[in-house]
């Protein structure tokens, strides 16, 4: 796959001009490198979702149920009643085009159907045909078209070229959120068993073992023990994390991706160091869970119901373990789910206490009902109150910029907390250009379950706007470290950096914190968590 991906110089030759034909007359071309493999029937079956069977997107026959059109029509109709968002968004778009060049996939591919407005029109055209008077009377002149197998394929192709990042929604005069439309569209596709495997299998894994990667409890503990060994080597301190412990002060839940692959693992080590520090200094007792060992929720890329089924574990585990409240790690879509869905779906969490930081006494008023606090909020509060012993100079060889992940930015608004934390632990920090950060941040290009290997071209195209902005600060300020608060970013951005901006590494926020954190009784550190020499220690490193 990777070797078939076009070179950066080729991929950047983007033509943003549309074809001469009207878009309904341009047939979909499902192109290698731009799509993810079809869901494994075993995973679909394990979850009890419809139409589990082997199928291949580039084959003619998608092995759909006989009455697939009816299933879609009924599904559409039902959801129009269930989601006002969809109904309103179907009706009121004026095609002003403000959203058009806001999507990283349009910028990176030039494919006009990646303009959010057209992505939505793919569905809207069928909506008009099936549900509106004008569509029925005027057909194509009202922008209506009937559902056909080609339309379905077009839906599938382009709904999996949207990372549900909501950037378009910020610019739309009516707040039309194409991410919401994509979520709805994917939910419909799942009625026919048209998921991608990079989503379906993690979901099945998560359902069974508690995390996307399918790590079983004993292996999960083993992996974390590994980090403890590494930490001991670097700091001379043996950290002893708790697992599945009842009545701890705090239950900690974070995406499993960080337990599994670099550079996320360094963030996981950061958590371990932080919790050890807080235990030694303040007696704070944090527990991990192997049952709720996943913060992320690929169910949210499948359907609302699947999202709820996976998310349920957080509160179920909290109910069982009885912590005072839950602390959540660095993740993007996990926080979209926690912020805008969890409490509604699986709450009320009245069996926990409204979160208070026992060390500073701060009440997290904004998390009063969900009882779940973001680690950036927690860290910012600790640092503000001077509760962490920090030596930011240990990060002096890192020239840092911060990538706002889509979901914490546009589904939560957590913008200044991570910046405060990072600036407190790193002396060299530069922002990317204003139109590419905060609520206008660009997606990593691999969100919403698209960070597979087979769609590398799609991912690199989608990562272009983000990478281009990194390149700008890389060239201007020598930025060599891209910080983020998202596990998918940590999995996806290293590839994007290698491809577009070689020389920039990716780090989590907590990794930077842990580098700077002075542990009680630590040996003199010569390396950071990655085993790379600290500034001024280059000699000592043998």
């Amino acid at each position: 796959m990777a070797d078939e991906t076009p070179k950066a110089e080729e991929l950047i030759q983007i033509d943003h001009r549309p074809p001469a034909k009207q878009w309904m007359d341009v047939p979909v071309n499902i192109r290698k490198g731009m799509y993810c493999y079809a869901s494994n029937p075993k995973s679909v079956e394990y979850l009890g979702l419809p139409n589990a069977r082997p199928w291949n997107p580039i084959e003619e026959d998608w092995k759909l149920p006989e009455n697939w059109q009816q299933i879609l029509h009924e599904g559409f109709k039902e959801r129009l009643e269930k989601f006002r968002s969809i109904k309103v968004f179907m009706d009121i778009c004026v095609r002003c085009g403000a959203c058009a060049d806001k999507c990283h996939f349009f910028i990176g591919t030039g494919d006009p159907k990646n303009m959010p407005v057209l992505r939505a029109e793919l569905l809207r055209s069928v909506y008009r045909n099936d549900f509106t008077l004008m569509g029925k009377l005027l057909g194509r002149y009202a922008g209506a078209r009937p559902m056909t197998i080609d339309v379905l394929k077009e839906w599938w192709y382009y709904l999996f070229q949207c990372t549900e990042c909501r950037r378009c929604s910020v610019f739309c005069p009516y707040g039309i959120d194409t991410a919401e439309i994509t979520m709805f569209g994917r939910e419909l596709l799942n009625l026919l068993g048209l998921n991608i495997d990079w989503i379906a299998t993690p979901v099945a894994n998560c359902y069974r073992t508690g995390n996307h990667l399918g790590i079983q409890p004993h292996a999960f503990k083993d992996m974390i023990d590994f980090f403890c060994d590494d930490i001991e080597e670097i700091t001379g301190i043996r950290v002893e994390p708790n697992f599945n412990q009842k009545n701890a002060d705090i239950l900690f839940i974070t995406p499993s991706g960080d337990v599994f692959a670099d550079p996320g693992t360094y963030t996981a080590m950061g958590y371990l160091l932080l919790f050890h520090f807080l235990k030694e200094k303040y007696g704070l007792n944090v527990t991990w869970s192997t049952y709720a060992s996943e913060g992320g929720n690929f169910g949210s890329f499948t359907s609302h119901e699947t999202m709820k089924r996976l998310n349920a574990k957080m509160y179920l585990e909290a109910k069982r373990l009885k912590p005072k409240w839950i602390l959540g790690g660095e993740c993007g879509h996990m926080w979209r789910v926690i912020t805008q869905y969890m409490d509604t779906m699986n709450g009320p969490a009245d069996f926990m206490e409204a979160p208070v930081n026992p060390i500073t006494g701060t009440r997290f008023e904004n998390a009063k009902s969900t009882k779940m606090v973001h680690i950036a909020e927690f860290l910012a509060d600790l640092i503000k109150h001077g509760k962490l012993d920090l030596d930011p100079s240990r990060n002096d060889n890192k020239i840092v910029t911060f990538h706002d992940s889509c979901n914490p930015a546009r589904g939560m608004g957590m913008l200044d907390e991570p910046r405060y934390v990072i600036k407190s632990v790193a002396n060299h920090f530069f922002e990317m250009p204003a139109n590419t950060i905060r609520e206008q941040t660009f997606c990593c290009g691999s969100g919403s379950g698209l960070n597979a290997g087979e769609n590398m071209e799609e991912r690199m195209a989608g990562a272009l706007p983000r990478s281009n902005a990194v390149k700008y600060v890389h060239e201007k300020h020598g930025v060599n470290m891209l910080a983020c608060v998202c596990a998918i970013d940590r999995a996806a951005l290293p590839a994007a950096m290698d491809y577009w901006v070689p020389g920039v590494d990716v780090t989590g926020m907590t990794e930077l914190v842990a580098n700077a954190l002075i542990m009680p009784g630590e040996q003199e550190r010569t390396t950071d968590l990655r085993g790379e020499p600290l500034p001024g220690m280059e000699e000592a490193d043998e």
């Binding site: 006002r84 109904k87 009121i92 409890p217 599945n244 089924r309 179920l316």
Partner: protein, 353 residues
């Protein structure tokens, strides 16, 4: 050649022709029946649409957060872009509706030398849209003079202001012998023309535009054009028109003699616009108030939002999980709820919550 805008253009000409030919023969149809019908369709259609939206549930609180959340007391919240209070939402909505705030953010992406992407403020869409809507509103309000007797002071004042600027700027050069030129009509025509040409000449705009995008613009341009025609170029009997208008609103309709055919075209266009309105994208007028990404509170972790159709789902319980992995957990030293019995116990894959 794009058959989408051509078809809209042809439709407009056809409508004009219908009124031109039809009105002299059937003035009561064009002057009384159709306007009444159009208003009825508009009101009923509009209300039904809005009711239809309101009937749909709002299962989740999904505001698009456009700024810093309310979190720690020392972090400055973006009170309007990420509103956690009703006042904040009110201001956010007011800014959207009155100033098109989101559209004001608009940027244009550009690929520069050296493959560097840049994003520039693109203000013309915002400007054109704002001009268009305000001009429309002012024109609409100004027309109340035909329907109200006596003409309220507020409307007279509006007319004075609307006419005032033009009077100052153009009075000497454009000598029609008129008391003044109303800005709103001209701005409406110009703004609509700009919005139309934008669709024609920007390639991607042309690509996404449907006949239902060209048609309302052309129709409104037609309304404005016939209006301007009447006011400045052809002589129309204002008194007669007011008589007709007053007849309509007092439900004592009558057709005064000597009404120019241009007026009937104007009126017919307006009738068509009204009747078309509820079935078209023009309903964004009502929809924006109901858009969940804008009108919801962003205090979603602080206050629980209730989903009216929330239903229980199948979950993989801890018991089922421990049953599957108990031996391994014990071996790894992980705490378990139930110690393994000597006899291996059967595994439950799934259990309902």
């Amino acid at each position: 050649m794009n058959k989408f805008y051509m078809s809209s253009l042809l439709a407009i000409f056809a409508l004009a022709l219908i009124a031109w030919v039809g009105a002299p023969a059937l003035p009561w149809l064009f002057g009384i029946v159709l306007p009444y019908l159009a208003v009825a369709v508009f009101v009923v259609g509009f209300v039904r649409r809005v009711m239809g939206w309101s009937r749909s549930a709002v299962p989740f609180a999904i505001p698009t957060t456009g700024g810093q959340q309310r979190s720690l007391p020392w972090i400055k919240q973006a009170k309007f872009d990420n509103p956690s209070s009703k006042t904040g939402v009110f201001v956010r909505m007011a800014l959207e509706i009155l100033t098109f705030r989101s559209l004001f953010r608009n940027t244009r992406m550009k690929m520069n030398e050296g493959n560097r992407l840049s994003y520039h403020l693109e203000i013309f869409l915002w400007l054109g849209a704002l001009a268009f809507h305000y001009a429309f509103l002012v024109t609409l309000l100004r027309h109340m003079r035909f329907f109200l007797e006596p003409v309220p002071g507020a409307i007279q004042m509006l007319e004075a202001v609307d006419g005032f600027f033009r009077l100052e700027i153009l009075y000497d050069s454009v000598q029609f012998g008129l008391p003044g030129v109303y800005m709103s009509g001209l701005v409406l025509l110009a703004a609509a023309a700009y919005l139309f040409l934008r669709r024609l000449f920007i390639a991607n705009m042309r690509y996404i535009s449907l006949p239902s995008d060209y048609f309302p613009l052309l129709l409104i341009m037609g309304i404005a054009f016939t209006g301007i025609l009447m006011r400045y170029f052809t002589k129309v009997d204002i008194a007669a028109i007011k008589q007709l208008a007053m007849g309509l609103v007092t439900f004592q309709p009558s057709i005064p003699a000597a009404i120019s055919p241009v007026f009937y075209i104007h009126l017919f266009f307006v009738s068509v616009l009204l009747a078309y309105f509820p079935f078209s994208k023009l309903m964004h007028l009502g929809g924006i108030f109901l858009s969940p990404t804008r009108n919801m509170l962003a205090n979603t972790r602080e206050v629980r939002h209730v989903n009216p159709w929330n239903y229980p789902v199948k979950v993989h319980t801890y018991e089922a999980y421990e049953n599957e992995f108990r031996e391994k957990m014990v071996e790894a030293g992980l705490p378990v709820d139930k110690m393994p019995e000597s006899a291996p116990e059967e595994m439950t894959e799934e259990e309902k919550e």
